[in-house]
């Protein structure tokens, strides 16, 4: 196993829980020391101005980059990675249960509805939440092809849309401190359903995935890994095994859809 040095700004460390991630991957990652030369991997916070920060780090020859919870920007602002693996660390879309859930959504009927809702505590995060929801749908194999705004207020939003195959989408966010932040996906088909609940990555509490068919309900095995850790594992593999990542190009597509419904600043 190749150990890679990690560097991050203060904001990125906090937003991505980087110290706990490094502690949980000690054979793969090590924090870059103060006197280290160029780190192998760099994390940039996804707050306003993130495309420039990411472009700067890519221009300085890093081997891999993590963008943590990006806020929406114009698709054209998303930097080009030029062969450097880049992983976007989403709070929900990066959860390792999403891959299993994608199997449950394979061959999803075109007339079967999919709901994606998020509970969040801060109305200032609504843009980030939307980007995360769109990334989740994409990773489930059900990317939003259409999206329209129904409501958008400080209390949250309601959006309607459709996947490329025509499945109706209802995308919502609810701002409350009443319960921990979480993402919930429910697919309702004529003869079955899929329910996925992804907790916030502040802990390694596992996602809950259940698939309901005519024969019964099957719960997927618990995966005690945060989306943050899963993102860094993926980046390590991409760098050491020279695997490409599509995170930035996928993000550009999702931002193009998000741009249709985001309120004008």
């Amino acid at each position: 196993m190749t150990i890679l040095e990690v560097s991050a700004t203060t904001e990125a460390r906090a937003g991505g829980d980087i110290a706990p991630v490094i502690a949980s991957l000690p054979v793969s990652l090590v924090a870059a020391g103060p006197d280290a030369g160029g780190p192998d991997l760099v994390a940039v916070d996804g707050g306003p101005g993130w495309p420039q920060r990411a472009a700067d780090r890519l221009a300085h020859g890093v081997r891999g980059l993590v963008v943590i919870q990006p806020v929406p920007v114009a698709p054209a602002e998303v930097p080009t990675a030029s062969g450097v693996p880049v992983v976007v660390d989403y709070r929900f879309a990066g959860n390792p249960a999403i891959e299993t859930a994608a199997d449950a959504f394979a061959r999803w009927p075109a007339d079967a509805m999919i709901e994606v809702s998020v509970v969040g505590s801060d109305s200032a995060d609504l843009g980030r939440i939307l980007v995360d929801q769109l990334a989740t749908l994409r990773r489930l194999g059900q990317a939003a092809a259409e999206l329209d705004r129904l409501t958008w207020r400080a209390s949250g939003y309601y959006l309607r849309g459709a996947t490329a195959t025509g499945s109706p989408l209802l995308v919502s966010a609810h701002v409350t401190t009443g319960e921990p932040s979480a993402l919930r996906v429910r697919g309702l088909a004529a003869d079955g359903a899929v329910e996925l609940t992804v907790p916030n990555p502040g802990t390694a509490r596992p996602a809950y995935l259940v698939r309901i068919t005519r024969d019964g309900a099957t719960t997927a095995p618990s995966l005690w890994e945060t989306s943050h850790r899963a993102a860094w594992r993926r980046l390590h593999a991409a760098v050491t095994e020279t695997q490409p990542t599509a995170d930035l190009s996928d993000l550009r597509k999702d931002l193009a859809v998000a741009g249709r419904v985001l309120p004008t600043p």
Binding site: M113, L150, T151, L170, A193
Partner: protein, 353 residues
């Protein structure tokens, strides 16, 4: 078997709701009620259902209302007969009337019912069972004032077709075959939405309305039918937004719930399916520091509404006033009209594609 001191029950309409809901509920309340007369337009159905409970069968409403052993009347007939039958039962001097929802097809009819109820002094219970569910009642007591307390309200009813539950509850006779859906046109879709709201969402619209402040200001953002039978409706009343969805399909697992999202708390009420006497709803109220769980208890809202009918027949005040019942109906009718209009008009939403 007749228990001394019980109230005699007359039932107008003996379809699956009577067979699979009310008779099983009354079987749990034999110390309070005895079914005396069962009426149905179909003579065979009336006799079959009456025989189950040792009651008299008739095809005549007047015959049932003239029966002096009938103290209280349950109106379980098709919607269009509700107002006429409730009014007739009040004028016949019965002690109380239970009317299945919706208790009228217009607010004028509802006002007439309320007027006759007030004139005759005969109290009325509308069979919106979730409003009498002990889980909901415990939730409202713990939550406190509901009006204006939540920004987003979500009502979801994912259910198998009724016969799945009816067949667990009883052995239904003379069940009408399922109708074949009409081809998907705007008019047919509008009809489906209206039927969905007045047939299924109406169970929970009184609960939704309990949270809303500006119920006359309904702005429907989205209304569409879901396949094979269901609906998705999103609307706002002022700064509060409501999502209603329902799907009746081959999916065997029911999920019938109500959520309320407030700034600092989230409420959830999870109801048991109709028919199966599976006890009350379970409610939770989450705050930043704790989650309170309420229920379940062993009886559902149907038993609750019959118990309330018994109490009202013995002089207890109604849980919901006539004004509240009329407001619930007006809200449901207004919403169904606006949602159907939205389907017909297909208005474009706020954002451009």
């Amino acid at each position: 078997m007749t228990v001394a001191g019980t109230l005699g029950v007359g039932i107008l309409g003996s379809g699956p709701v009577t067979q699979a809901i009310h008779l099983p509920a009354l079987a749990r309340l034999t110390d309070q009620f005895t079914v005396r007369t069962v009426m149905d337009a179909n003579d065979a159905t009336a006799h079959d259902v009456a025989a189950r409970v040792g009651a008299r069968a008739t095809t005549s409403m007047d015959d049932l209302l003239q029966d002096e052993t009938v103290d209280v009347v349950a109106v379980c007939s098709p919607h269009q007969f509700h107002a006429e039958q409730v009014i007739a039962a009040c004028r016949a001097g019965k002690r109380a009337v239970l009317c299945e929802k919706p208790f009228a097809t217009s607010t004028d009819e509802a006002a007439s019912i309320a007027q006759v109820s007030a004139q005759t002094g005969v109290p009325i219970v509308v069979g919106a069972m979730h409003t009498y569910d002990p889980g909901w009642l415990a939730f409202t007591q713990s939550w406190g004032a509901t009006r204006g307390s939540a920004r987003h309200i979500r009502s979801s009813a994912v259910l198998p077709p009724n016969p799945r539950f009816e067949d667990f509850a009883t052995e239904v006779v003379n069940r009408e075959p399922m109708s074949t859906p009409a081809p998907a046109t705007s008019a047919a879709d509008a009809h489906r939405i209206r039927d969905g709201i007045l047939g299924l969402a109406i169970h929970d619209l009184p609960l939704v309305r309990a949270f809303l402040t500006d119920i006359d200001d309904i702005d429907v953002h989205l209304a569409r039918p879901l396949s094979p039978w269901g609906y998705l409706v999103v609307f706002s009343c002022g700064d509060q937004t409501v999502e209603l969805h329902a799907l009746i399909s081959a999916n065997w697992q029911p999920d019938w719930s109500l959520q309320a999202y407030a700034d600092d708390r989230v409420g959830r009420v999870e109801f048991t399916p109709s028919y199966v006497q599976a006890g009350s709803a379970t409610a939770t109220i989450s705050t930043p520091s704790q989650m309170v769980r309420l229920g379940p208890v062993d009886h559902n809202g149907y038993v609750g509404e019959w118990q309330h009918l018994y109490d009202m027949a013995h002089g207890q005040p109604p849980l919901y006033s006539s004004a509240e019942l009329i407001a619930d109906l007006a809200f449901a009718l207004n919403l169904s009209d606006r949602a159907a209009t939205a389907v017909l008009g297909r208005p474009e939403p706020v954002a451009a594609r």
